[in-house]
C-alpha cells in the first residue's frame, strides 16, 4: 500500500510529508549519498523524487517512476506536486484515484491548491491525511462526511448521539450523506454537460468523434430522499417500446440515443442498473457528479471547419478557414474561438475576417479568431496571409491541427432527461413539491481539424 505521501512546491521543497510505512526509502541511502538526518530513509525518498523528477531537465516521461526499487506516483496541480511513494506492488489505479480524490478534498476545504493555501492549512492537511489514509489504505474520503468531524475547531461539545451519528455515517452504507438535512424549499438542479470531441481530416472525413458527458446534480433536498433518474437511453426505450403502445415506441425510439458506456457516482446502485438499467440512488447533499457517459453514434457536430492552406513560395503562406454552424437557427452558440497555428518562423500576419475579431499571437504561434455569438446554419470565414522568415531549418513545420472552442445550449449527443423522481416517505413532501431545473450545455472538448 501507499508508504508515504509528499507535497512539493515547484522548487522541489517539501510542504507536507506524511509517512505511513517504514519501508520506503531505506535503500535510497546508496543512491543519494551522504546527507545525514535523523530520519534517514524518509529524507532520502523525498530527495530522490526531487532530484529525479522535479529537477529532471526533460519532460515527464511517466507518472510512475521507479528509483532504487521505490515507486513514486505523482500528479501535478498548477505548480504543486503530489507524490505517493511505495515499495510494494500496490494497486496503481487506486493510488492515482486517491491522489485526485485528495486534491478534491483539499479544494473543498480551502479552495485552489497553491503553495500559499497549503502552507496556510498544513495542520488541516495533516489531519485529513491521518483520516483518509490509514497505513496507506484509503478510507472514507467523501467531503460531505469529513466535514462533519474534521472542522479545525477543536472538539465541540458533541453529544453521544452526534458522535455515533458521525461514525455511522463515515463507515456506513450511505457514507456520502448525513441524516437530518432540512430545507424549506426542496429544489434540485440538473446540468447535462457534454464535451464533444472531433478529429477531422483536411478533406472533411471524421477520423474520430465522441461525446463525453456528465450529469451534474445540485440537490437541496430534505431527509434521505430516494431518487430515480431517467433519460432517453435506447436500451430502456426499446424495452419499454416492446411492452407499451406501438406508436409511442416509434415516436420516442427516434429520439433515443445509444450510450456506449457510462459510470456512476458511488451513490448509484450499480447492481440495479446492471439488471434493470434503472438509475436509483440517495444523492449526496449539494453538488456532485451523478454520472459520466460516452457516445459515439449520431453525434451532432455543432461546427464544421474547412481549412485551406497554400504555400506561396518559401516565405509566404495563405490560409483560409471557413466555419459552418450546424444546428437549429433559433439556437445561439457562444464563446467561439478558432485557433489557427502558424509556423515558428512567422514574421508577420495579415488577417481579414467577416465576423468577430482575429489576432495573430506571436507568443502562442497562432492566429486566434474569436466570435461572441453565432446562430445555427450560418457560415463565416477568415483569410490570412502569413509572411515567413527564410530559415535553413531542414525540419518541416509540423502543421498542428486547427482547434476550436465553443459552447452550445444543447447536448450534442442528443441526450434528454426524461424524469428525475424524488421519493421521501418519512417527510411530508412529494415528488410534485420538488422544484427541478434542467439545463444542457455542449462544449468543445478537443475539436480539431487537420490542415
Amino acid at each position: 500500500m501507499i508508504g508515504g505521501l509528499f507535497i512539493y512546491n515547484h522548487k522541489g521543497e517539501v510542504l507536507i510529508s506524511r509517512v505511513y510505512r517504514d519501508d520506503i526509502g531505506l535503500k535510497l541511502d546508496i543512491q543519494i549519498g551522504g546527507v545525514q538526518s535523523k530520519a534517514p530513509g524518509l529524507r532520502n525518498a523525498v530527495d530522490a523524487f526531487r532530484v529525479n523528477v522535479i529537477h529532471a531537465r526533460q519532460q515527464v516521461r511517466s507518472p510512475v517512476t521507479n528509483i532504487a526499487r521505490t515507486s513514486f506516483f505523482h500528479v501535478k496541480r498548477s505548480n504543486i506536486w503530489l507524490a505517493a511513494v511505495t515499495k510494494q506492488n500496490v494497486n496503481a489505479a487506486m493510488v492515482f484515484e486517491f491522489l485526485y480524490k485528495m486534491c478534491d478534498v483539499m479544494t473543498a476545504y480551502f479552495g485552489k491548491i497553491s503553495e500559499e493555501n497549503i502552507k496556510n492549512n498544513f495542520v488541516l492537511i495533516y489531519e485529513l491525511l491521518d483520516e483518509i489514509l490509514d497505513f496507506g489504505y484509503p478510507q472514507n474520503s467523501e467531503t460531505g462526511a469529513l466535514k462533519t468531524f474534521i472542522t479545525q475547531q477543536g472538539i465541540k461539545g458533541q453529544t453521544k448521539e452526534e458522535q455515533s451519528q458521525i461514525t455511522s455515517q463515515v463507515t456506513g452504507q450511505i457514507g456520502w450523506r448525513r441524516e437530518g438535512i432540512k430545507y424549506r424549499r426542496n429544489e434540485l438542479f440538473l446540468d447535462v454537460l457534454e464535451s464533444v470531441n472531433l478529429l477531422m481530416s483536411p478533406q472533411g472525413q471524421v477520423l474520430s468523434a465522441h461525446v463525453s458527458g456528465r450529469v451534474v446534480m445540485k440537490s437541496y433536498l430534505s431527509g434521505m430522499p430516494e431518487c430515480k433518474f431517467g433519460m432517453n437511453d435506447k436500451i430502456v426505450i426499446d424495452k419499454q417500446g416492446k411492452g407499451g403502445a406501438s406508436d409511442d415506441a416509434g415516436k420516442s425510439g427516434k429520439q433515443s440515443i445509444a450510450i456506449d458506456d457510462c459510470t456512476f457516482h458511488q451513490c448509484v446502485r450499480l447492481s440495479k442498473f446492471d439488471s434493470e438499467r434503472s438509475i436509483s440512488f440517495i444523492p449526496p447533499d449539494g453538488e456532485y457528479e451523478l454520472m459520466r457517459y460516452r457516445t459515439t453514434k449520431d453525434i451532432i457536430l455543432p461546427f464544421r471547419v474547412i481549412p485551406l492552406v497554400r504555400e506561396v513560395g518559401r516565405t509566404k503562406l495563405e490560409v483560409k478557414v471557413v466555419i459552418k454552424s450546424n444546428f437549429k437557427p433559433s439556437l445561439l452558440a457562444q464563446k467561439i474561438e478558432v485557433r489557427i497555428p502558424t509556423p515558428l518562423n512567422t514574421s508577420g500576419v495579415q488577417v481579414i475576417c467577416m465576423k468577430g475579431k482575429a489576432k495573430y499571437k506571436a507568443s502562442e504561434n497562432a492566429i486566434v479568431w474569436k466570435i461572441k455569438r453565432m446562430a445555427g446554419m450560418k457560415e463565416s470565414q477568415i483569410s490570412a496571409e502569413i509572411e515567413l522568415l527564410p530559415t535553413n531549418d531542414k525540419k518541416k513545420w509540423a502543421r498542428p491541427p486547427i482547434s476550436m472552442n465553443f459552447e452550445v445550449p444543447f447536448a450534442p449527443s442528443g441526450l434528454k432527461v426524461r424524469y428525475l423522481k424524488v421519493f421521501e416517505s418519512k417527510l411530508n413532501y412529494s415528488d410534485h413539491d420538488v422544484i427541478k431545473w434542467v439545463r444542457y450545455i455542449g462544449r468543445s472538448g478537443i475539436y480539431e481539424t487537420r490542415c
Binding site: E13, V14, R18, V19, Y20, R21, D23, S37, A39, V46, Q59, V60, R61, S62, P63, V64, N66, S71, Q88, N89, V90, N91, A93, M94, F96, K119, N120, V123, Y126, E127, D130, D134, F135, Y137, Q139, N140, S141, E142, G154, K160, Q163, T167, T171, G172, G175, L207, H210, D261, T263, Q266, R269, L270, S271, D274, R292, R294, K395, K396, S403, E448
Partner: protein, 984 residues
C-alpha cells in the same frame, strides 16, 4: 489567522525558544509551538530534541492539539524509544474514551509507533477495539492488526488477532469488512502458504454482498482479494462474474480495473461455447474505452493494462482502434502507449487508417514519439503483408524529409522489411544509399551496413561504401564493427576479385587491433573459414536467413498470465512480475490463471494440463524463487520481455500430430490461446526490433558451430592469425559458439553429439544376404541414419528403397535411399540417410522404437531399431533462465521422475560440456554443500521441452537426475540418453 508563518522561523536558538513555548501555561501558546515544531519537521529540520516537551502536551482535551502531538510521536518515537513509553498511558486511557473518534484515533496512532516496547501495551486495547460497539473503531482496529503484524508478526499470531480479524469478515458493517479484507490480504502475502484468507463459497458470498455496500476503496480491497480466489467450477465462476460486472460502471477507475482483473481471471474457467462467455467479452470493451477519458495519469495505467489485455484476448478491443488514436496534446507517456496498442490492433481491416495516423505522427516534435511512429510503420509492414508496399513508400517519403533521426529510424526498419520480404523492395536501396552520410547513430549505421553487405552484388560501389566506413573503424561502436566485418566478408564472397585487400584489412583490424573479444573471435572465425574452405564459408556466411516473425515484442506467455493476475497494480504498469521490484517476501508469490474447468477441450487430456492449482507448492529441488533470482539470474530491471523467447508462432508445423496420447495437443493449447510453454519456433528474435542483441541478423552461431566443429583438423592448417585464442573468453554468444572456442583453445574435448556405435539391425540370414548395421546421429542440426550395407548374397543388388512405419516423433526419410549400383557381392557401402520429423506420428513402445522396411530387387525386409532420443534434441533447446524457472514450477510434481546414473567419473563442468554436445544445455549451475546442481533444458524436435536437474557430488560417481516434462513419457528415454552421452 494563517499557518504559513510557522514555516518562516529560521533564526538561531529556535529549539530553545520552542522548548520554552511548549512548556508555557497558556494553551494557545502551546498549540502554536507544536504547530511550529510540526512545520520544522516537515521541511526536514531535526526537532527530536523536543521529544519530552512535546509528549507533555499530549494530555489535552483539544483534539486538534492531540492529533499534532500524535503526528510528532509517529515520526520520532523510533529514535527515542524510552521516552515513547511515556505516551503509552495516554494511549491506553484514550482507548477507553467515551468518544469513538478518540478511541479510534488512539488505536490508529499507537499502531504507527513502531517501538517494540510499546507493542506489548498495544495488545489489550487492540483486542477491545476489535470488538468495539462502534464500527468506526472496529474498522480502524482491523487495519491496526496489519500494522502490528508488520512490527511483530509472532505477537499477532500468539495473541489470536488473526482469528478475530477473520471474524470481522462477517461484520455487519461493510467498511469493517473491507478493512479486514485488506489487512488479511496483506498479512497473507507474507505467509504465502498459510490458509489465512480461507476463501470458500460462503466467505466469497459475504464479500460479494459487502461489495455492493462499501466505499469505493473498500470495493477495490474486496475485488483485489476476490481475484486471488479460484472457483471450484465454471458455474461458480460464472456466478461470481455476474455479481462483479456491475462494478464496471463505477466512476472510480481503480474499481473498474480491479473488476476487469477478476473477470479476466475467472473467464479462463468458462467454456468458450457458453453464451455468457461471449456476453462477458462484449461487456469488457466499453469500460476499458471509458478509462481513456480519465485523467492522463490514469489513462497511462489503463493503457499499460490494455496492452496486456490485448495480448491475452485480442478479440475484446479489435474494433476499437480509433479510440487509441493519439491526440495532439496527450502527454508523451500516453502517446507512446497508445502507439504500442495501435500496432497490436493493426490488421488488414484497419491498416489504411492506422498508416495515415502514423504518417501524421511522424511529423510531430517529440523525438522519441516520432521514432516510435516510424518504427511502428515498419512493424505494420511486417505484420500486415498487404500493407507492406504502402508502408515502404511511406517510409521513403519520410526519408525525403531529411530529418536526421527520421531517416535513421526509417533505415533501421527498412532492414527488417528486407528480411521479412526478401527480394521485393530492393529497388529502394539507391535512395537509402543517398543518406549514408547523415547516419550518426550506431544502430542506423549497422542497419545500413547490413543492407550494403546483403545486397552487395546489386550495389555497384558497395566496396567503396564499405571502405568509407572502414576508415574510422576503431571509433565505431561494437555493433557497427561487427556488422562491418560481416558485411565485408559477404562482399568478398560475392565479389572475391576486387575486394581481397578490403577483406584482409578488416580481418586484421578485427583480430589484431581490437580489444573486443566478440569482435576478435568473429574475425578469427571468418579468417579460418575463408582460409580453409571458402565453399563452406559461403554456405555459412551467405546462408539463407530465417524469416523474422511479426510480433517479436509480445510478452512471454507465462509472464503475461502472471501479469493478467496483477491487472491494475504496479506490476501491470511496469510489465514485470512483482518479484522484480518488490523486496523481501512480499509479492514474490507467483500468480497464475486458473485452468479452464470441466468442459470440452480440456477433457481430452486432463492429466497433462498443468495450468491449474494456484496454491501449488514449488517442488523441493528448486530453491525458492527469490533465492534463485538473486543468486543465479542477476535479475535486473530490464524488462523481461526482451529476454524471453519468442512466443509460439505459426512456425509450428505439427498441428496434425497426435503424439503421446493427446499430451501434445494440450501442450499447444487451442489456436486462440497461447500455450504456457514456449514452443519451438524457427525464428530467432529479430535483433532489429529489440535493440539489445548484439548479434547481427544473419549470423547464426549454431550453423557455424556445426560446420567447424565437424572438422577438427582445421586448427592446424590455419596459419596467419596468432594461434592462441584469448583465454579469458567470457559469455559466449551461444552454445554453438562456445563449442567452437573450446576447440580452438586447444582443450581438445571431443565435442559434438554423441553417436552410438553401429549395431547390426538386419542380419544377412534374415534378409536373403543383405546385412544392415547402423546408428543414428545428429550432425549440423540434421538427424541422420548412418548405415553400412553389406551384400553377402551371390548376386548384385539394386533398386533400394526405404520406408519407416509411423513412429513417436514422426521420423521419416528426407530423401531416397541412395545406394550406388551395382552393389556387387561381398561389397560393403556406407549410406547416410538424412531424416526429417514431419512424417506421420504414432506412439511406439518403447517410445524410441523405429520400424523400418527396406526394399531391394530381391524382396522387402523389415526390422526395428531404437534411436537415442538425444538426436532429437534441437540446437535451440536452451531455455531462458526465467522461463526455465517458471516452467519448472508450472509442471506438476507428478511429472517429475528421478534416476541414478552410476559410475560416472566426470566433474560437473566436463559433464555439462559433454551434454552440451548433444544439445543438452546447462542453464545455470549452483553449488550447495559441495554438490553441484546443473539446471538443464533440452527441446525435442516436436517442441516438447524437457527440464532437468543434475546433481553431481565431487568424489561420488553416482549422479542423480530429476527430469520434468509435460509429457512424462519421454523421461525414460531421456534418461537413457543421458547415461549414454555421459558414459561415452
Amino acid at each position: 489567522m494563517t499557518d504559513s508563518k510557522y514555516f518562516t522561523t529560521t533564526k538561531k536558538g529556535e529549539i530553545f525558544e520552542l522548548k520554552a513555548e511548549l512548556n508555557s501555561d497558556k494553551k494557545e501558546k502551546k498549540k502554536e509551538a507544536v504547530k511550529k515544531v510540526i512545520a520544522s519537521m516537515t521541511v526536514g529540520k531535526d526537532v527530536s530534541a523536543l521529544f519530552p516537551d512535546v509528549v507533555n502536551c499530549m494530555q489535552t482535551d483539544n483534539l486538534e492539539l492531540k492529533k499534532l502531538v500524535y503526528l510528532y510521536l509517529m515520526n520520532y518515537a523510533k529514535s527515542q524509544p524510552d521516552m515513547a513509553i511515556m505516551a503509552v498511558n495516554t494511549f491506553v486511557k484514550d482507548c477507553e474514551d467515551p468518544n469513538p473518534l478518540i478511541r479510534a484515533l488512539a488505536v490508529r496512532t499507537m499502531g504507527c509507533i513502531r517501538v517494540d516496547k510499546i507493542t506489548e501495551y498495544l495488545c489489550e486495547p487492540l483486542r477491545k477495539c476489535l470488538k468495539d460497539e462502534d464500527p468506526y473503531v472496529r474498522k480502524t482496529a482491523a487495519v491496526c492488526v496489519a500494522k502490528l503484524h508488520d512490527i511483530n508478526a509472532q505477537l499477532v499470531e500468539d495473541q489470536g488477532f488473526l482469528d478475530t480479524l477473520k471474524d470481522l469478515i462477517s461484520d455487519s458493517n461493510p467498511m469493517v469488512v473491507a478493512n479486514a479484507v485488506a489487512a488479511l490480504s496483506e498479512i497473507a502475502e507474507s505467509h504465502p502458504n498459510s490458509n489465512l484468507l480461507d476463501l470458500n463459497p460462503q466467505s466469497i458470498n459475504k464479500l460479494l454482498t459487502a461489495l455492493n455496500e462499501c466505499t469505493e476503496w473498500g470495493q477495490i480491497f474486496i475485488l483485489d482479494c476476490l481475484a486471488n480466489y479460484t472457483p471450484r467450477d465454471d458455474r461458480e465462476s460464472q456466478s461470481i462474474c455476474e455479481r462483479v460486472t456491475p462494478r464496471l460502471s463505477h466512476a472510480n477507475s481503480a474499481v473498474v480495473l480491479s473488476a476487469v482483473k477478476v473477470l479476466m481471471k475467472f473467464m479462463e474457467m468458462l467454456p468458450k461455447d457458453l453464451d455468457y462467455y461471449g456476453t462477458l467479452l462484449k461487456k469488457l470493451a466499453p469500460p476499458l474505452v471509458t478509462l481513456l477519458s480519465a485523467e492522463p495519469e490514469l489513462q497511462y495505467v489503463a493503457l499499460r493494462n490494455i496492452n496486456l489485455i490485448v495480448q491475452k484476448r485480442p478479440e475484446i478491443l479489435k474494433h476499437e482502434m480509433k479510440v487509441f488514436f493519439v491526440k495532439y496534446n496527450d502527454p508523451i507517456y500516453v502517446k507512446l502507449e497508445k502507439l504500442d496498442i495501435m500496432i497490436r490492433l493493426a490488421s488488414q481491416a484497419n491498416i489504411a487508417q492506422v498508416l495515415a495516423e502514423l504518417k501524421e505522427y511522424a511529423t510531430e516534435v517529440d523525438v522519441d514519439f516520432v521514432r516510435k511512429a516510424v518504427r511502428a510503420i515498419g512493424r505494420c509492414a511486417i505484420k500486415v503483408e498487404q500493407s507492406a508496399e504502402r508502408c515502404v513508400s511511406t517510409l521513403l517519403d519520410l526519408i525525403q524529409t531529411k530529418v536526421n533521426y527520421v531517416v535513421q529510424e526509417a533505415i533501421v526498419v527498412i532492414k527488417d522489411i528486407f528480411r521479412k520480404y526478401p527480394n521485393k523492395y530492393e529497388s529502394v536501396i539507391a535512395t537509402l544509399c543517398e543518406n549514408l552520410d547523415s547516419l550518426d547513430e550506431p544502430e542506423a549505421r549497422a542497419a545500413m551496413i547490413w543492407i550494403v553487405g546483403e545486397y552487395a552484388e546489386r550495389i555497384d560501389n558497395a566496396d567503396e561504401l564499405l571502405e568509407s566506413f572502414l576508415e574510422g573503424f576503431h571509433d565505431e561502436s561494437t555493433q557497427v564493427q561487427l556488422q562491418l566485418l560481416t558485411a565485408i566478408v559477404k562482399l568478398f564472397l560475392k565479389k572475391p576479385t576486387e575486394t581481397q585487400e578490403l577483406v584482409q584489412q578488416v580481418l586484421s583490424l578485427a583480430t589484431q587491433d581490437s580489444d573486443n573479444p566478440d569482435l576478435r573471435d568473429r574475425g578469427y572465425i571468418y579468417w579460418r573459414l575463408l582460409s580453409t574452405d571458402p565453399v563452406a564459408a559461403k554456405e555459412v556466411v551467405l546462408a539463407e536467413k530465417p524469416l523474422i516473425s511479426e510480433e517479436t515484442d509480445l510478452i512471454e506467455p507465462t509472464l503475461l498470465e502472471e501479469l493478467i493476475c496483477h491487472i491494475g497494480t504496479l506490476a501491470s504498469v511496469y510489465h514485470k512480475p512483482p518479484s522484480a521490484f518488490v523486496e523481501g517476501s512480499r509479492g514474490v508469490q507467483h500468480k497464475r490463471l486458473p485452468a479452464r474447468a470441466g468442459s470440452g477441450e480440456s477433457a481430452e487430456s486432463p492429466d497433462t494440463v498443468s495450468t491449474g492449482g494456484v496454491s501449488e507448492a514449488p517442488p523441493a529441488v528448486i530453491p525458492s524463487q527469490g533465492d534463485l533470482l538473486g543468486d543465479l539470474l542477476n535479475l535486473d530491471l530490464t524488462p523481461p520481455t526482451t529476454t524471453g523467447p519468442p512466443p509460439p508462432t505459426s512456425s509450428m508445423q505439427m498441428g496434425a500430430m497426435d503424439l503421446l496420447g493427446g499430451g501434445l495437443d494440450s501442450l499447444m493449447g487451442d489456436d486462440s490461446e497461447p500455450s504456457h510453454i514456449p514452443l519451438r519456433t524457427d525464428t530467432p528474435q529479430s535483433p532489429q526490433l529489440h535493440h539489445h542483441s548484439p548479434s547481427p541478423p544473419d549470423y547464426s552461431p549454431t550453423e557455424l558451430g556445426g560446420d567447424i566443429g565437424g572438422s577438427p583438423a582445421m586448427g592446424a592448417s590455419f596459419g596467419a592469425p596468432p594461434a592462441v585464442m584469448p583465454g579469458s573468453f567470457n559469455a559466449p554468444v551461444s552454445g554453438g559458439l562456445s563449442d567452437l572456442f573450446d576447440l580452438g583453445g586447444g582443450v581438445g574435448m571431443p565435442m559434438g553429439a554423441y553417436v552410438p556405435p553401429k549395431t547390426v539391425w538386419l542380419p544377412a540370414m534374415k534378409a536373403k544376404g543383405l546385412e544392415i548395421s547402423g546408428t543414428f546421429a545428429r550432425r549440423s542440426g540434421v538427424v541422420q541414419m548412418e548405415m553400412t550395407l553389406t551384400n553377402k548374397a551371390m548376386s548384385v543388388m539394386g533398386d533400394f528403397a526405404i520406408q519407416f512405419n509411423r513412429n513417436s516423433f514422426g521420423l521419416a526419410p528426407a530423401g531416397p535411399l541412395q545406394v550406388l549400383t551395382p552393389f556387387t557381392p561381398n561389397q560393403s557401402i556406407e549410406v547416410t540417410l538424412p531424416l526429417n520429423t514431419v512424417g506421420p506420428v504414432m506412439k511406439m513402445e518403447p517410445l524410441n522404437n523405429l520400424q523400418v522396411a527396406v526394399k531391394n530387387n530381391i524382396d522387402v525386409f523389415y526390422f526395428s531399431c531404437q534411436y537415442p532420443i538425444s538426436m532429437l534434441f534441437v540446437e535451440d533447446g536452451k531455455m531462458e533462465r526465467q522461463v526455465f524457472l517458471a516452467t519448472w514450477k508450472d509442471i506438476p510434481n507428478d511429472n517429475e521422475s528421478q534416476f541414478q546414473i552410476k559410475d560416472c567419473h566426470l566433474n560437473s563442468d566436463a559433464a555439462s560440456n559433454k551434454l552440451q554436445g548433444s544439445n543438452i544445455f546447462t542453464i545455470a549451475k549452483r553449488t550447495v554443500d559441495g554438490q553441484d546442481m546443473l539446471y538443464q533444458s533440452m527441446k525435442l524436435t516436436n517442441g516438447i521441452w524437457i527440464l532437468a536437474e543434475l546433481k553431481v557430488q565431487a568424489g561420488n560417481p553416482n549422479y542423480t537426475i530429476s527430469l520434468k516434462c509435460r509429457a512424462p513419457e519421454v523421461a525414460q528415454s531421456v534418461f537413457q540418453s543421458y547415461e549414454a552421452v555421459l558414459k561415452n
